[in-house]
Every structure is written in structure tokens, then in C-alpha cells.
Symmetry: C2
DNA sequence: ACCTGAACACCGTTCAAGT
DNA sequence: ACCTGAACACCGTTCAAGT
């Protein structure tokens, strides 16, 4: 239960949420602070351990205090998703503009991947929480972001229909690749391998000769290469859409 | 709280766990029965509403009775995943054998899709629960099944390395497509649209002109066509692996 | 052998009350 | 204005006790 210790940190009050520590070592509560802490909590300990009571404790506050800023646990999780995906908006969209659509698509795909890898235990939430509208496709689930995406494609000469196809294809692509990659990353974080659970080490595989002989190749991950290869194939497919 | 009513069912006492219905109209508890009921429960009411106590009630038993057959809630959910994916094994693998690898891959992909669509609210569990081994990739997460998959590909002349690539590419493909499709299906099941939640109807879109003008095309789903198209492209890509 | 009652430690959430 | 205490209805899980 270590807390902060000597506070006294001095941060430039440039943007909104930089409201220095109070004397008691507790920053002024607020939606932003709560979401930031929730993301950190999930990054470290996983979603299922995130509890209103524990999150409150992390902020030196009773759980009930959180309800002034967040309607409930479900909306908290939605907020976490939104909060994390905002990194993408700041990163990808703020940079200097891409000069071709393949470059644009490449960059945004890599941007989403960077966010996912940065928060492997949050990404399943991004993937699985019901989006604000039924036609939004995780992980590309922010209205603002999708609007920007369609705008960019239009600028590069895509028709409306084509843009929708590209949006869908990219969402599907990113979801599949990144959910698998982040699952592996999140798994590595713990796995202090237990005893009688079915961990399926090389021992339990005896009944499956091919798995046994391939376990080496199956184990070595190549997510980055797979992602890059599949991404380039997808971009080729998109080029095909345009004809 | 309706129960069974007049029981009197007569079942052949062929295998081990068939200890005939008690007079009270309650089938003999057991892992199989519990899992079947759990799947049905999730299909109807969703995973978050599944509770040991409620599942017990559904089986006319106190929650504690379940612990004799299932170690706990987590393992129950793993059991549900396994149980559902077994449908695939029975369906796809039991049929007459495919005569070419493209046919085989096509069939198995369609088989997985059929299972996913049959249990849209279970599929997220299939996608997201940590698999038995870290190199298993949901939704293709059964050791037995993957062994069969590799065996089939070997039969069609794929090398070990190639087979691993195909396994990974298919898992990624299926995960992305089917998670998005089942999310939509599961969403349709409820959505008795609420009032002040962010449902993002055509109204809330006013700030996003492109989304507004495309809402029609975005809303009409084309999951089947997308799936089939992408599947065939994937099969082409696989053909490329073989060179 | 199989199920239940009672109990424990924990949840999310509400609301009157404190400061 | 902002937080807390106490309370409510619910969890998962354990274990001694019933039949």
C-alpha cells in the first residue's frame, strides 16, 4: 500500500488535467483523473480486478465518491476505451498529413497497433464493448475518428461506397490481428504457471504428434511480420476496390 | 419460477451418468448437463447475467451443488467455450473428407462461421478467454482440432511451416470477421433503445457530415458477402504460400 | 453420494448525512 | 460542493451438516 511519498512534483500547467497535488497528496478528483487511473489499473492488473472500491482506494477515496463523476462501472469501462483510443487521434491524425492513400492507411494501421500494444489488457475492451452505433466496427469505434477517416479517403479520391468498404476491411483486419497479439502480450504479463491447471506444456501434447513436433514453430511468435505482410496485402486489395 | 411439471421421462441407461430423473422432475446433475444449460443461458441472456446462483436455479438446484462438477465460474466459462466449439468438430470433421485443400479450408471456415452465428453471445468468450496454450489462436483453440487441421493440410501436401502460417492466417481472419458479425447479432437481440444513453441515432450525427450522408450504407450489413470475398482472397494468399 | 444452510469476504449502487 | 457511512441486494466460494 505504498502511496506517493514526498510529493512536491512541479508540472507545467499547460493543458487541462495538470492540477498539481493537494497538500494531502490527493489530486482533485474528476472524470479525467479517474479514467487515467482506471487505464493504469487495467494495464497493470487487468480488467477483472478493476473494481469501483479498489479504484477508489487507488485514488485515496471511497468508491462512492466516483459516482459523482462516472455513472457506473459499465460507463467507466466505456470511458476507458474512449480514453485509450484518443491516443490514436492525437498520434495519427495530428501528424503531418500523408501524401498518398497507401501511406495514410499504413500509418493509421500502425498507429492503431501502437495503441493496442501500449495497452494490451485494455484492447479486449476496445474490441468487445458494444459501440455507440451498431454500424461502428471495433477497434475503429469513435465517431469523430471514423468521420476523419472517411474524409481522408475522400480527399484521396475514394468514392463513398469504396470508403465504407475500406473502413470495414480495415476494422476487421485490425481487430483480428491485434486481439490475438494483445492476448499474447497480456498473457505473458502473468502466467506464473500453475500446477494442475491445463497449461498444456510440452507434456500434455503427447496425444498430438503434429502439435508436438511443431511446438517450436508454433511458439515463436511473428506478429509483427504477419501484421506487416497482411497489411500490405490488404492495401493491395484496396487498390483493387478502386477499379 | 415454473419447474418441470409432470416428469416421467424415460431415457436409456446406456452410458455412465444416466441416473434417471428423480420423481421431482429434475434431471441428474452432471458436467454435461450443466454446460449445456450454461450455453443455453448465455445464448438467451448473455454472459454477464450468468451467475452460479442463477444457473443453479435454472437446474432446480442450489449454486453450491454445481461445485461438485465444475471447479468454479471461470472453469465453467472455459467449459462453455469448449462445449460450443465441439459442435465444429462434429460438423466439419465428421463429414466426408474434402478432396482439395481449398475445399477443405472453405468448409472449415464456413463451419466455424456457422457455430459463431449459432451462438453469437458465446463467441466473444471463444475469442477472448485465454487458451490452454499460448500459441493457440482463438477461435481455433482446441488442441484436438488444431492437430486435425495440421494433419489435413499435411495430407494435401503442405509443409509443416506452411501449415503453421495457414493456421495463423485463418485464425486471424476468422476472429476478426466473426467477432464483428456476432457482436452485431448479439446487439440486435436486445437494444430496446434507451433514452439518454449515447445511442448515436441519426440525430447525434449532426456534427459528422460524412457519417450522416453515409449512414444508410454503413447500416446495411453485408457480413456474408464480406466473409466470402475475404475468404476467397485468403485462399488465394494461401496458394501463394505454397510456392 | 449428493445436495443444502449458513457463513465469509467481497461486489455495485443508493442515499441520507457529514464537513 | 464534495465526500463518507451505513445499508441493500447481490456475488463466488467453503464447509460442516443433512438425507
Amino acid at each position: 500500500m505504498t502511496e506517493g511519498g514526498a510529493a512536491g512534483g512541479r508540472d507545467s500547467a499547460a493543458d487541462g488535467n495538470s492540477t498539481v497535488t493537494t497538500g494531502a497528496g490527493r489530486r482533485p478528483l474528476g472524470r479525467e483523473l479517474i479514467l487515467t487511473e482506471a487505464v493504469r489499473f487495467i494495464d497493470q492488473r487487468g480488467q477483472d480486478r478493476l473494481t469501483m472500491r479498489r479504484l477508489g482506494a487507488e485514488l485515496s477515496v471511497e468508491a462512492m465518491a466516483l459516482y459523482r463523476y462516472v455513472p457506473g462501472r459499465e460507463q467507466l469501462l466505456d470511458g476507458v476505451v474512449e480514453h485509450v483510443m484518443n491516443e490514436l487521434y492525437e498520434t495519427t491524425m495530428t501528424k503531418e498529413l500523408a501524401t498518398s492513400w497507401p501511406e495514410y492507411l499504413e500509418r493509421m494501421a500502425q498507429g492503431v497497433r501502437a495503441v493496442a500494444i501500449g495497452h494490451p489488457r485494455v484492447f479486449p475492451l476496445v474490441a468487445v464493448r458494444p459501440p455507440a452505433a451498431p454500424w461502428l466496427r471495433p477497434p475503429l469505434r469513435s465517431l469523430r475518428w471514423v468521420e476523419g477517416f472517411l474524409e481522408a479517403l475522400a480527399k484521396f479520391g475514394f468514392s463513398a461506397q469504396q470508403s465504407v468498404l475500406v473502413y470495414r476491411a480495415f476494422a476487421t483486419f485490425l481487430l483480428g490481428h491485434l486481439l490475438l497479439e494483445t492476448a499474447t502480450l497480456a498473457g505473458e504479463a502473468e502466467a506464473p504457471i500453475e500446477d494442475d491447471t491445463e497449461v498444456a506444456g510440452t507434456d500434455a501434447l503427447s496425444a498430438y504428434p503434429r502439435l508436438t513436433s511443431l511446438s517450436a514453430q508454433l511458439s515463436q511468435d511473428a506478429f509483427e511480420d504477419e501484421f506487416d505482410d497482411a497489411l500490405h496485402d490488404l492495401i493491395k486489395r484496396v487498390a483493387h476496390f478502386r477499379s
